[in-house]
């Protein structure tokens, strides 16, 4: 019977005539709220997508859309927006949010209704955004997020009273734990069919100045007997240590060193194990292939190249595990506070610290994150120096060279290794290059007007295993995808040009091939740096992406009859001196070997001038530094 009933009901609903003048069906829902209130966490919950979330303000700097699959509303598009404090905008990310919300963003449909997310633990302040958002006149559901935190720390909210005061429905939710979310499909149904929610429109503050919004918010919370939760004791206790005059910076240093130490002591054996596995898998698979050009292509060309990059997966994942813990816990904002003194001395806003720190993962999102910097000059300066930060794409070449050339010497009773120290040194010189460049820009090209440093310190939170797991999964997938596309592609080209031209049905030998000629032609420029022609080809190919050099070297050494049977580390030790090896990693510390970064800088600044300048400048610095490194080291050792 019930089957029959639904079968009848559905077509009837379809046939309800649209009253003349009624709006077309609802399509787009916007997600808006102040920074760091959990919009992206909710977005991911509702759409099943994975936008980046972390515990600091300004993680989302662009609008993202997705279908609301997780609540069965495939017909609705949800737009996640950067956090805003008001509809007045001073920074690029806030401008995006307001333009989308008011339907002025080209290519984005005007939203039909709004989910306003507010952090329930600071309602007085968060409600200030409600008045301007209501005044846009769209159906709005107010979602008070972080209900778990509110309850745990003894806060109270009367959602019904609040809904009456606001004239809009209110629900208490926890996006992180998925609680209270059933209010959202309810609201969407009502908003879609224009059902009366029984709430009367209320008088909003007329003057939309901060002060009037504020006094309105305070009155509303007072009338609804809102009880703000007690300050988190843990946050204060932790801060009294982590921001301590002595222990604070010390802890910061220990964290950084520990990261590198773990990447080597734990990551290296994992990488080696993976390498052995991949090599034997390759050898076994090759036995099934006929001994002709196909086997040469697949094993010597592609497999050697790709697997020499793949082995770095465990180390990359370890690095991202640490970055994830730092971001999700809320420590990153504290690190920004500690670093502000240094940042100021070079004329940079402390706000530049967070984009710069995220550049340790990858410069591309870091350059996008500079949108939170209101001051245009400081934003450009930050974009210019971000690629000097040691991104994870440098890790493969760093660990390859260090593992091949640096003895595994230990100090301080085994706590500190020479390899980790050299790695730290490479990170430090990248950072120094950024500092010096910023200083130069500040004193000549860009006279910075001093934008103030204003930084909200979020409460500490435990990073959840799920969130860390998802990050690692996504990162791992990204890395494998890169290995399977860009690195595979470039490796194929390198192989192809190293067997061409074909003479009388025979492949060229490596040294007489196109690649060999090109390599020998550029070799004179690179010889003073201690590089041979194979490294030169590696450098050229890695302009696409830094990891590519490892793939290219894997292929070239795999094809060379002299080094064919050796592993890549051994082959390199055979072929270049210690000076050349160190010069190579120094070169990578400074050089702009990344097409994605160049493209994103072009996009963010709307001209090729800056990326071109950046490429030339960084390559020059890299060349000179590598030259000095090789000359000094070859004389010393």
């Amino acid at each position: 019977m019930s089957c029959h009933a639904t079968a009848v009901v559905e077509p009837i609903e379809e046939k309800i005539p649209t009253p003349p003048g009624a709006k077309p069906r609802m399509r787009t829902v916007a997600l808006i709220g102040p920074p760091n209130c959990g919009k992206s966490t909710l977005f991911n919950r509702l759409t099943g997508m994975r936008q980046k979330v972390a515990n600091y303000p300004g993680v989302t700097v662009e609008h993202h859309s997705g279908r609301m699959k997780s609540i069965g509303r495939n017909d609705l598009t949800l737009i996640d927006l950067p956090g805003i404090y008001s509809l007045a905008t001073y920074s690029e990310d806030a401008r995006v949010a307001v333009e989308v919300l008011t339907g002025k963003m080209p290519g984005v449909p005007k939203p039909d209704c709004v989910l306003l997310v507010l952090d329930a633990t600071h309602l007085n302040r968060q409600l200030m955004l409600a008045a301007p958002v209501f005044s846009i006149g769209l159906p709005t559901l107010v979602l008070l997020n972080m209900s778990d935190q509110l309850e745990a720390r003894g806060g109270k909210i009367d959602t019904l009273a609040l809904a009456r005061e606001l004239g809009h429905p209110v629900a208490l939710i926890s996006a992180a734990h998925g609680k209270g979310l059933e209010a959202i499909p309810d609201f969407l149904l009502r908003a879609g069919s224009k059902l009366d929610d029984g709430l009367r429109p209320v008088q909003l503050p007329v003057l939309q100045s901060a002060a009037s919004c504020r006094s309105w918010a305070t009155q509303v919370t007072a009338r609804t007997k809102y009880q703000s939760p007690a300050a988190s004791l843990w946050t204060r206790r932790l801060d009294s240590v982590l921001l301590h005059r002595v222990f604070g910076p010390l802890f910061f240093l220990v964290v950084v060193i520990a990261v590198f130490q773990v990447v080597f002591t734990l990551g290296q054996p994992l990488s080696d194990g993976m390498g052995a596995m991949l090599t034997s898998a390759g050898a076994k698979a090759a036995m099934w292939l006929p001994d002709n050009w196909l086997r040469a292509l697949l094993r010597d060309g592609l497999w050697n190249g790709v697997q020499s990059v793949l082995v770095f997966l465990p180390q990359i994942l370890l690095l991202f595990l640490f970055i994830g813990i730092l971001e999700d816990s809320g420590y990153l904002a504290r690190a920004a506070l500690i670093a502000d003194r240094v940042m100021r001395s070079i004329g940079l806003n402390g706000k530049a610290f967070i984009p710069l720190l995220s550049a340790y993962a990858c410069a591309v999102p870091a350059i996008m994150a500079t949108r939170t910097i209101e001051n245009k000059r400081e934003r450009i300066a930050t974009i210019l120096i971000a690629p000097f930060m040691t991104c994870s794409a440098r890790l493969p070449i760093y660990t390859l060279i260090i593992a091949a050339f640096i003895p595994n010497q230990r100090f301080l009773g085994g706590l500190l290794g020479l390899r980790a120290l050299l790695m730290l040194g490479l990170y430090v010189i990248g950072f120094l290059a950024a500092l010096i460049t910023a200083k130069m820009l500040n004193s000549s090209v860009m006279k910075a007007s001093h934008a103030p440093f204003i930084l909200e310190l979020p409460q500490y939170r435990w990073p959840t295993v799920t969130s860390l797991g998802l990050r690692l999964y996504d990162r791992g997938k990204l890395f494998l995808k890169k290995a399977g596309t860009i690195i595979l592609g470039v490796t194929f080209l390198v192989w192809l040009f190293s067997v061409l031209p074909i003479h009388g049905g025979q492949f060229s030998a490596l040294s007489t091939s196109v690649i060999g000629h090109l390599g020998h032609w550029i070799e004179p420029v690179l010889r003073p740096l201690g590089f041979n022609w194979k490294i030169g080809i590696g450098l050229l190919s890695s302009i696409v992406a830094r990891e590519v050099i490892v793939g290219t070297l894997g292929t070239l050494y795999g094809m060379d009859p002299a080094t064919h049977s050796l592993g890549l580390q051994v082959a390199l030790r055979h072929d270049i001196t210690l000076g050349g090896a160190i010069a190579l990693v120094v070169f990578f510390a400074f050089a702009m070997q990344c097409t994605s970064t160049l493209i994103i800088v072009r996009r963010e600044t709307n001209s090729w001038k800056l990326p071109a300048l950046q490429f030339c400048y960084m390559t020059t610095v890299a060349y000179v530094a590598a030259l000095v490194a090789n000359q000094v080291i070859s004389r010393l050792f």
């Binding site: 102040p34 404090y85 008001s86 007045a88 001073y90 633990t121 600071h122 007085n124 302040r125 200030m128 955004l129 901060a210 002060a211 504020r214 703000s228 939760p229 007690a230 300050a231 004791l233 946050t235 204060r236 206790r237 801060d239 009294s240 921001l243 301590h244 005059r245 002595v246 604070g248 910076p249 904002a333 920004a336 506070l337 500690i338 502000d340 003194r341 100021r344 402390g350 209101e374 001093h450 103030p452 440093f453 204003i454 930084l455 909200e456 310190l457």
Partner: protein, 92 residues
């Protein structure tokens, strides 16, 4: 009670914001973080280098450089020598 710049108030003391003398762009942002006349503010701690300092305004912790904080004025209400941070938790 005396009015003084936020940057001159001692760590551990608390008061009420009296006025904010900063350019519109900055005061607008600060206002939305709670720095408006009448809001209570507490000087929580200093960063390891002494500057910026951390203020608790309206339940939120905000870091400000002294160069900004010296343009914000507060009426000091409690100037307790007791600057153990735990003693100041939400008595109300």
């Amino acid at each position: 009670m005396d009015v003084l710049a936020l940057s001159d108030a001692k760590v551990g003391s608390a008061g009420v914001v009296e006025r904010v003398d900063l350019p519109d762009e900055v005061s607008h942002y600060l206002a939305h973080l709670g720095f408006l006349p009448g809001t209570s503010v507490e000087i929580l701690r200093r960063a390891p280098a002494g500057d910026p300092r951390v203020y608790r305004i309206d339940g939120v912790e905000v870091g400000l450089r002294n160069e900004t904080a010296k343009h914000i004025f507060l009426r000091v209400i409690s100037d307790t020598a007791d600057n153990s941070p735990t003693a100041t938790i939400e008595a109300a």
